[in-house]
């Protein structure tokens, strides 16, 4: 490992700052790590590879390092350790930096002004032998409509399983599995903040984890995000599912059991009586017997009339009530349709927001 003394570091930093090398004035004020890295890039361009490597290593140890800084620092370190001049090449050391680089940026190239064919070959070797994965953090996503989604494009150096889990801030446990895909090298994880017209995650702060797993080795890489969800309830109006049964009128009268009995008795009685009471006296006087079949047939008709009516009568349809119920159903259907249309409008008009900030792998 090549290191420089603090004296030389301070000197380089002072020189870089004084000359304003590589960065605008505004950036120098707000991003000292970027200033440091720009100084390292300048040292590399001046063929001072040791200085460039040392600056990269210093930058990598800074606690406030962002992902973009880390990527630049690792590129610089790898380039400084494996330049085109054969005497300055340290392949193993460069490979170490490239593996770190590939783990968090599996598909990203090295900046054109830092690389050359030999370093690209080392990068390809690092990708082949190292499991790395990355996710593109969408930053702020506006949720437009209840079907709005937040997408997380993911990539890996080899086909991997990806899973997205969400925890409410402060919660422990396994979290809620939101989506999973794989195995694949490139894909997109998706999160629906609203499911079935209800916010899946109420407004608040969350922690999101995207875990990449190498199915061959079982190696896992976790990417943690901080999220602030603004997901108000979907303001839907209530749509009744069915007509109030108490509002419906009975559509049939009650079966007329008494009428059945009377009718059966009347029919049977008339049959029996007719054969006895309506016959000529002369025939009775002559001892001609009345029609013998009248009794069984009369009884049979009485029983048939009563029983069939009893069994078959479900009551009479009451047309005014049927019409009134139909009107009620039509009105209900129209009102329900209007409410559903209004809800569709509200679903489209729904707005939410998911703000994401990334932490390190």
């Amino acid at each position: 490992m090549h290191t420089y003394s603090p004296f030389w570091l301070r000197l380089l930093l002072a020189l870089g700052a004084a000359l304003g090398i590589g960065t605008p004035v505004a950036a120098q004020v707000v991003d000292p790590i970027q200033d440091l890295l720009d100084g390292g890039r300048q040292a590399y361009n001046n063929l001072n590879f040791r200085a460039a490597d040392s600056i990269a290593m210093v930058a990598l140890e800074r606690p406030e390092l962002r992902r973009s800084h880390r990527l630049q620092a690792l590129q610089l370190a790898a380039a400084a350790r494996y330049p085109e001049s054969a005497g300055d090449q340290y392949a193993d050391s460069a490979m170490s930096a490239l593996r770190r680089y590939v783990r968090i940026a599996p598909t990203a190239p090295i900046a054109r002004d830092l690389t050359w064919r030999g370093l690209d070959s080392l990068l390809a070797e690092a990708r082949r032998t190292t499991f790395g994965a990355s996710v593109s953090v969408p930053g702020t996503t506006a949720i437009e409509g209840v079907n709005g989604r937040v997408s997380f494009p993911v990539a890996a150096t080899r086909p991997a399983h990806f899973a997205l889990r969400v925890w409410r801030q402060g919660d422990e446990g396994p979290g809620e599995l939101v989506d999973s895909i794989g195995p694949l090298e490139l894909g997109v994880l998706r999160m629906a903040p609203v499911v079935s017209d209800f916010p899946r995650f109420a407004s608040g702060n969350y922690r999101l984890q995207i875990m990449a797993t190498d199915p061959t080795t079982g190696e896992q890489l976790n990417h943690v995000l901080r999220g602030e969800f603004v997901t108000p309830p979907v303001p839907l109006v209530e749509v009744p599912e069915q007509v109030d049964p108490n509002a419906l009128l009975p559509e049939r009268s009650r079966p007329n059991r008494v009428g059945s009995l009377i009718s059966g008795g009347l029919v049977g009685g008339l049959v029996i009586a007719s054969a006895r009471l309506l016959r000529p006296v002369a025939l009775a006087d002559a001892s001609v017997k009345p029609e013998s079949r009248s009794v069984p047939i009369g009884v049979g008709l009485a029983v048939l009339t009563t029983a069939a009516s009893w069994y078959l009568d479900r009551g009479k349809l009451i047309a005014p009530n049927v019409d009134a119920n139909l009107r009620l159903l039509r009105e209900f259907t129209a009102r329900r349709s209007a409410l559903m249309t209004e809800n569709e409008r509200l679903r489209v008009a729904y707005r939410g927001e998911v703000r994401l900030a990334q932490e390190e792998w």
Partner: protein
């Protein structure tokens, strides 16, 4: 004359009773169906006849008659036509032999209750002698639905007055009455079929001839056919 009148009154009373509905919570009061009825069907009756002829004792006969009937009735008017043929075996008094019956009736009134008048012609052949009886009939009929079951009770009574036309012989007069009690089942909506089962009884007295004669006939009958009528709907 008193008995048929009583039966007629009984029919009317029974109809009123049968129409009465049990209390219900619906705001609409159910009523009997209104509207017309058209019916065409086949009718078959098993007939038994008894006869007493003064000075000649009694005779019996039995047989089957069958034919077609047509009925069309609105709330105001109706017409019914029926033609049937058959033959009976008998023990005398001309009860045996073939005969043809043709009848036309006109009805005034609704389907629930109507008065009717008509003419019936019976042509019989016995021992190569053809006999034609023309009967004038007046009566009443009542019918009512048994709830929403599709069953209809039909009752009818009538008074008969007749003339006998016999080729080469004198005419004479007679009178009598008849009764019909019938249960009709109308198939559910969309299937315009009906079946019916009933009982027919009639009596005929000829007291103005030189040899008074008394005759009765009765028996069950079955019918089936096509019927267009409101079945269940209450308006």
């Amino acid at each position: 004359m008193i008995r048929p009148a009583l039966i007629l009154a009984l029919c009317a009373a029974s109809a009123v009773t049968a129409f009465a509905q049990e209390p219900q919570s619906a705001p609409a009061e159910p009523r009997q169906p209104r509207g017309g009825e058209v019916r065409f069907g086949y009718l078959m009756q098993s007939l038994r006849r008894n006869s007493a002829l003064e000075g000649s004792g009694t005779a019996t006969g039995s047989g089957t008659i069958a034919g077609f009937e047509f009925l069309a009735q609105t709330d105001g008017l109706g017409v019914m036509a029926r033609r049937s043929t058959g033959s009976t075996d008998g023990t005398g008094h001309g009860l045996e032999g073939d005969f043809i019956s043709q009848e036309v009736r006109l009805m005034i009134g609704g389907r629930i209750f109507s008065v009717e008048g008509g003419v019936l012609e019976r042509t019989g052949s016995h021992l190569n002698e053809e006999t034609k009886v023309v009967v004038w009939r007046g009566g009443a009929r009542s019918q009512w639905n048994l709830g929403g079951s599709g069953l209809v009770v039909k009752l009818g009574v009538g008074l008969l007055f007749s003339r006998l036309d016999t080729e080469g012989s004198a005419q004479f007069k007679g009178r009598g009455h008849d009764l019909d009690a019938m249960l009709l089942y109308q198939a559910p909506e969309g299937l315009p079929l009906y079946v019916l089962v009933g009982w027919h009884h009639e009596r005929f007295d000829d007291l103005e001839s030189t040899a008074p004669r008394w005759e009765e006939g009765s028996g069950p009958y079955l019918g089936i056919g096509v019927r267009l009528a409101p079945r269940l709907i209450l308006r």
